[in-house]
Symmetry: C2
DNA sequence: AATTGTAGTGTAAAAATAACACATAAAAAT
DNA sequence: ATTTTTATGTGTTATTTTTACACTACAATT
């Protein structure tokens, strides 16, 4: 077998060695790209930026950045999100790693996609640090650079599945919300209409919301009761009864 | 802002630039590690190797290798699997990317885990190319290096979910199999007993198996009918009726 | 002919899901 | 003061899905 000059050789001769050489030239740049979902009490949205740097300057893209040597990917994703939006303590989850050789025409880059969930209204003035950042309604987003469109599609699928099996919808809502807002959220995520009574019955049967005395008067004359997600109760149920959130 | 000597700077001054510098020193090695599931008509197993190279020489681990510049991650995973087992045309799926800074004490490595499904008996002599490779029953596997144990746990969860929602179980069985073998497989994957009649009724209601005239006589005097998965029928149903495999 | 061990089969109860419509509250307009 | 307006809030029934459960059939071996 021929060895490149800078190969580092494992100390044995068998087939393991073939796989465990590495070469400086096989090092790659690892990026993180963040799909940021937001909800404004009516529509599910996604935050995009107009790139003011090459390649693909002027086109819309996800926010992203490069992994640094002294951090792991979760930390990189958190850093990227904070640098852009000023936000921390945001739900984030690793989605998938994209590695097509020519996905970025400029240089070989592998990108680990993350998605984040934020409540648009509570956070909208916290400081979106890039002038060119904009919320787009899902489905009205412009076409994106590289494989970012594919990333978003996968993120939506993941979000749909998560929403049905975990209480992550609340990450997209303000602390206090009405049943109608919660239903709007689920309809946006799942992209289909739900039956109001069935939805409320289902939510109530889970028994993890607290109904407040307070009402939201902004939408109807009658007003709608506000609810909060009872995280402690939820976690207690999970721990004690093997309860699992299934909508 | 201070720039490292070898930084490549984006061409604008705003916050984007902070994230879009990169430095040669931020390049990393990307590994792939493969969780190989096998089934031998009775038990779900996992293929491990005893490392004969440093670090952690002599300990058990998943098979793995490094991503090369001219391939994507799927290709790297396929290559690693083929090099070890001689197998190709195997179901593989990307699982998750592991990036803890000190996960590999030897060097900074980020690893993308894949899992593969193979039928042990059809393939057992195809050539496991490493003497030190061995099948372990799930749950009897030794403790593993680095974060490989965590990878396996995640792979099992993913496999459980996939098995319930996609026809991937058949990847673990020979082309012809009995209902009992199929049930054994699902019991192994889900790690729980299933009711025989309910299982068969459910499978039959999906209407994607072909019952052969042939019987497997190796287990009982009476013999058990063999079935094959009708992939064309399955795909046609998915395409035409929006059918989805749910067990 | 009797024994042995797995294969093969159906029904009824329970639970979950889906379908469905009207009265109520409170502000705004008259 | 009365009427209008608009979204809120609420329960029952039918349908579908899931679960529980036990005996006969077969074919080889003794």
């Amino acid at each position: 077998m021929e060895l490149p000059k800078d190969a580092v050789l494992a100390d044995d001769k068998d087939i393991n060695s073939q796989l465990n050489f590495y070469q400086k030239e096989d090092q790659v740049l690892l990026a993180v790209d963040c799909i940021i979902f937001g909800f404004d009490k009516t529509n599910l949205k996604i935050l995009l930026i107009k790139r003011n740097f090459e390649p693909e300057k002027g086109k819309w893209s996800l926010i992203g950045g490069f992994l640094k040597k002294n951090e792991n990917l979760d930390q990189a994703a958190i850093r990227v999100l904070r640098t852009l939006t000023g936000l921390s303590d945001i739900y984030m989850e690793q989605l998938y790693t994209y590695s097509k050789v020519d996905r970025d025409p400029g240089q070989r880059t592998i990108s680990v996609a993350y998605f984040a969930l934020i409540d648009v209204e509570s956070h909208q003035f916290d400081g979106i640090q890039i002038d060119s950042a904009r919320w787009f309604d899902l489905g009205e987003a412009p076409s994106l650079i590289f494989d970012h469109g594919k990333m978003i599609q996968k993120a939506i699928s993941r979000l749909q599945r998560r929403a049905m099996t975990m209480p992550i919808g609340f990450e997209l809502l303000p602390e206090k919300f009405t049943m109608r807002q919660l239903q709007n959220l689920y309809e946006s995520i799942l992209d289909k209409k739900l039956d109001k009574r069935n939805f409320i019955n289902k939510i109530n049967s889970l028994d993890v919301l607290i109904k407040l005395d307070e009402k939201d008067m902004t939408v109807s004359r009658k007003g709608a009761y506000l609810y909060v997600f009872d995280k402690e109760k939820y976690e207690k149920k999970v721990a004690e009864d093997g309860f699992s959130f299934k909508l």
